[in-house]
Amino acid sequence: MNFEAVIGLEIHVEMKTKSKMFSTSPVTFGDDPNTNIAPLDMAFPGTMPVVNKQAVINAIRVCHALHMSIDDELWFDRKNYFYSDLPKGYQITQQRRPIGSEGYLEIETSSGKKRINIERLHMEEDTCKQLHSWDCTLLDYNRAGIPLVEIVSKPEMKTGEEAMKYVEKIRSIVSFLEVSDGKMEEGSLRCDVNISIMPVGSKVFGTKVEIKNLNTLVNIQKAIDFEIKRQEAVLLSGGVVQQETRRFDEAKKETVLMRVKTDAVDYKYFTEPNIAPIKLSKQFIEDAISSSPELAEVKLERYKSLSLNDYDSNLLISNKDNCEYFDAVVANGANAKLAANWVLVDIQAILNKEDISIKQFKVSPKHLADLIKLIEKGTVSNKQAREIFVKMQENDADPNELVKAMGTTLISNESEILAIVKQVLDNNPQSIIDYKNGKDRAVGFLVGQVMKLTQGKANPALTNKLIVQELKER
């Protein structure tokens, strides 16, 4: 019997807003535990939620990127349950009226383009972080109250690859919109997979299994592919798939049982009474969208219009930080093609070697742009530029200053070079004869002689031009 899988994803994205979803404490990552807490985050009696406007703007932007309809009224609900990571005993979420509904995105897989429909997007607050040790549980409330968007797909994916591409696309969207770091390894983008299988052509879904704690894109694909095979094996051997929660064991490369789902928890949802429904004006929604940072797709089009080739454009948008750096170099007046080359080749080599991100790279976009301009003007040769670039990495030195200090400025004065060219030609009559006899390499030799006399400071392009011009005249 042939089976097909039905896969739906729930993605939680932690927003990097300045403050939390409903309190004024800062949102930071990596700070000492329990240092970024307002009374609300620990649910002290009498505290009240105040909705974070930037979080709403972010949610609108993601909704727009996912082609969703955006509710013009904000409603929040309480999801009630007791757990040690839930300070208030309820989570403020948007159960009944999510801000975004009915959207889609398009993914490209090895078997072509596919549209994945998205059911809903809603805002909510994160819980506190738990660290379990053998005899106690430690609680870090820094995370409690960080704004989240949850994006729920329709169960329309069929393979691990599709799911992986879908998450990759969502990650690109939230990071390009500056909504989130989108770092799966650090938990700022978390993905839960719901997966069932059924005989091909069947209309009845099989029993759903949930896979949690998937912390890389690759693991999403591997976990799903494994889980499909596992469920097939269970059914083919006459067994029944249990409704359960599993996790992916990276070492074993398989999903393992976490817990069997018993009766679903009744969350006793009701409307949050501390937040009266908030009307979102058309203007507010439009402003949020029009002031939104550029999406990867839009950037791609723009790069192509700067006459970058497809390969370079795609390579650039695969990393948002590189894009930002590149955009800044171009904004400082550098030629786009040269800038792309420097960012993607020269700088990448250094980043790889030093294992740092472009954000930690010493040379500022402004100074790289200045260097590229020097090359374009012919003030320095490519070779010289690379020497200068090495020096620039020490302390982001100004390339114009370096050129002066190093005395590497090319001689670009035509009459100055012409005088030397004439001198060289006078001293090498054989080369003139060779040239007249069609031996073009004589030009190279003559350029070399000019360079020798000028200690390499003659503008090579200009030198070449003047030699050919002079040869023709003789």
């Binding site: 002290f44 009498g46 105040v50 309820y90 006793k268 009701f270």
Partner: protein, 485 residues
Amino acid sequence: MSYLDLNIYEIHQALLDGKVTPLELAKEALSRAKADTNNSFEYISENEALEAVEALKNKDKNNLMWGIPFVIKDNFSTKDIPTTASSNILNGYTPVFSSEVYVRLINAGGIPIGKTTLDELAMGGSGMTGHKGFTYNPYDPSHKHMVGGSSCGSAAATSSNIAPLGIGSDTGDSVRKPASHAGLVGFKPTWGRISRFGLFPFATSLDHVAYFTRSVEDSAITLGLLAGRDDKDMTSSFKPVENYFKNLKPCISGVKVAIIKEILDSISDQYIKETYLKTVDELKAKGAIINYVSMDIRLCKAIFPTYFIISCAEATSNNANLDGIKFGPRYEGSDYQEVMTKARTNGFSELIRRRFILGSYSLLSENQKDVFLRAQKCRRLIVNRVNEILKDNDVIYLPAAPTTAPLFNASADKLSDEYLIADNYLAIGNFAGLPSLTLPLGKKEGLPFGGNITGRAFDEQMVLNFSLGLQEITGLKNLSSKEGK
């Protein structure tokens, strides 16, 4: 006579004239608080009061609250002062921030005398359920009568002249009912008029900051100070605050007054009824237009169950933060469930647990439609009818309660019309969030009883002006349990 026995605006004048000093007033109030025999206090804030007196030097003397002692219910968060909501689950809890109401009072120069007792977590109307036991009605030195609740301590302290202002909270009638039993003016302004930030929530959609004074004038003064937008409470209103005290003038002639027949009819006490009707006659004589209106008896009978379901549902969620993990008494256990279960079993009285179970039951997905959402629908119908009445009338005027303060051991027939309607109808002011004020109408066998005036949303001035007119008719102003002693 002590200046402490006067109204706020009179004390203010005496302070300006130098007839009394803030320190003398504070010391007198503290000594009366210490001598209190009615179980009014969770905490007497002697040091805080003396510090506040000291800080007056840097504050504007012309503020009417400058140097005025006040007491505040122990469900208002007060920084560095223990706040228990009279529940064992918060024993030893000292907040790290103060409620907006407390901050405004202190900033204006108010002198905090103490935190007052309440029914546990503000749930209850008897003043019998706090962790410190019964709070007594100051009008009965034999301690047989309740003062009512849940703001029992603030009612007792204000009526025994410990302070001219007692801050409370009102979710069903928790200020306006005890005001009736204690001969006080009890005012609950419109929902959103006063910030709830720092008030421990009982039932958010019904909770109001409210307060006791001994005159309508003092009620107007206090509102002017407490009303206004607070960015920490998203539900607080941006509507401008009026100068309620300056604009205060008796207003009866031409005022359209609605009397809801079904509610009046459910009262059996003839003396209370007659006293009330006499004031109605006098209002008429002074030019008020009296309209007897009707409210479907089924709606009237639904007020209490509707209130109970909505308040319990919200309460079970609002109090889910009290789990023994973050603050309050801590009990060890092998897992989080055990820690929470122990804290909540030991921390809440049986009555509270019963309310939580009822609230949870009504919110369960299998019951929500039939119970919680039905109560919400009912609330909407009641609110619609009340707003209809207030479209044609300026105020609704009725007795505040069907009886004087009950005996502690009295048992009400909870299915009688009197209990279901007259004893619980004040909750309509919470359903609709309307400004609602109780003031004294008379006394029966030494115990006071009051009337209640409810007006349109944000029409506090009308409620206060009409009440001032009524106060002139009754002549019952600045009542105190002290005069009877």
